[in-house]
């Protein structure tokens, strides 16, 4: 992980596995911060991420178990590495640049695999990681390899990959990347989406690792 982040952003502190041996429920957000997100979309996204944190922090079990990471694009940038939600302090994201979805997915999968290795080394149980892609556009880089990694990961039960499209997102391409059906955000209902995500994560993290994921129905925020 460490080669991806600057010294300014390191998660300094001891949130060690000995003090908190709870099983971890990792969730990484791959967030589109390209130029087209400027204005209201990025504002709503920022508020949504804060909602997610606040919802999870207030749940005693989720606050010990859920770990969040954030990758933004473009360019691809590790905004926050995996940490329990109490230590997750989302910074305000700004919109600029292109939409390298392929590179963002590849980095996200790499980070998930590394995190699992850390859990194993520390004897910490873990839940199936969630990778959540949110975009309002189409890849500006090659995504063929990334799509292949997603398919392999889903087939091997290594993680669950969800794609959420906003407004003008290219759903044809999202469908070719995500094994699960991509969901279309209704308007800019980021807040509702992140409330749904936090409820789903609270539910998952309150069960034992390995239990089947029963997602809450994506009601309210998705166009079905």
């Amino acid at each position: 992980m460490d080669e991806y982040i600057s010294f300014e952003q390191i998660p300094f502190g001891s949130d060690d596995f000995a003090n908190n041996p709870e099983s971890r429920c990792p969730c990484i957000l791959l967030l589109d911060t390209s130029g087209s997100m400027a204005g209201l979309p990025i504002e709503q996204l920022n508020e949504g991420v804060i909602t997610l944190k606040n919802e999870l922090v207030s749940d005693p079990l989720a606050s010990k178990r859920v770990e969040l990471a954030v990758v933004t694009f473009g360019p691809v940038h590790l905004e926050a590495d995996f940490q329990t939600v109490g230590n997750f302090n989302p910074r305000n994201l700004t919109a600029s640049g292109d939409t390298p979805i392929g590179a963002a997915i590849t980095l996200g999968i790499d980070l998930v695999n590394r995190r699992k290795k850390v859990y194993k080394e520390n004897g910490i149980g873990y839940y199936k990681p969630w990778i959540i892609l949110i975009t309002d556009g189409a890849p500006t880089d090659s995504y063929i390899n990334a799509a292949q990694l997603v398919k392999e990961g889903e087939a091997n039960n290594s993680f669950a990959f969800f794609a959420v499209g906003v407004e003008q997102a290219n759903f044809t391409i999202l469908k070719s990347i995500s094994v699960r059906e991509p969901l279309k955000l209704k308007g800019l209902m980021f807040r509702e989406f992140f409330l749904w995500l936090s409820s789903s994560m609270k539910m998952v993290s309150s069960k034992n690792p390995g239990s089947n994921i029963n997602l809450l129905p994506p009601s309210g925020w998705a166009e079905l």
């Binding site: 300094f12 001891s14 949130d15 596995f17 000995a18 003090n19 109490g86």
Partner: protein, 255 residues
Amino acid sequence: MTWKLIGKSVIGTSHVQSGKDCEDSNHFEILNNGQENEIAIGFVSDGAGSAKFAKQAAIRAVQEAVSISIQYIEDEVEIEEKHLVALVERIYDIFRIESAAINVPLNEFSCTLLGFITLPHKSCFLQIGDGAIVRNDGSGHFTYIWWPQNGEYQNTTSFIVDDANVRNLQVKIIHEKIDEIGMFTDGLQMLALDYDSECAHQPFFNDLFKWLRRAESAEHVSILNRKLDEYLSSTSINNRTDDDKTLLLATKYIL
């Protein structure tokens, strides 16, 4: 840059609630004694909650301790245990004179003192009261110099001003090259020590030293020093302790 030191004292939530100041203090210096051998000096102190001048005593104790240590180095004193005892006795005398001057009991200046002076071929440690000093034994394992001095009860300990002969003072010279030292006041004892197995809590120090080892410039060290302050003020710490807390970390390791 050889030695990298960071240290912060942060007010506890119980002191905030009762309107008190932070009564912990720390002070550290890095000296180059001319032979490219850097010397690190660090002291921490915890002023007694019941003492009227706890804050002033803690600040004064660490500043005097560092300046006396620097004087020893400048005078090329071969520091032995008796010099460490003399250092604390001088601070005792300062408190005695100051308390007499303003006509208050000496115990209004009650504070603990822990410190180290690392020389090229040996390291000197002293401690009076609770808190602890740990050192990397060279294999990546942290061992404490002394287990915290608590009395019968968790909230009783000894202070510099307890006794003119500083009988509760512990001093030790270790004739080894020591490259990594952590030091903390009692506010962090529950996090930094493992009471079940009576040893230093290894993950705590590993997590924090990991980044200090990686620091490559004065700028990195100052970023970490700021982050240490944020960390000691964070909810994850405040959920475990409501007391003032001081942490000082020193390393020569480079990753």
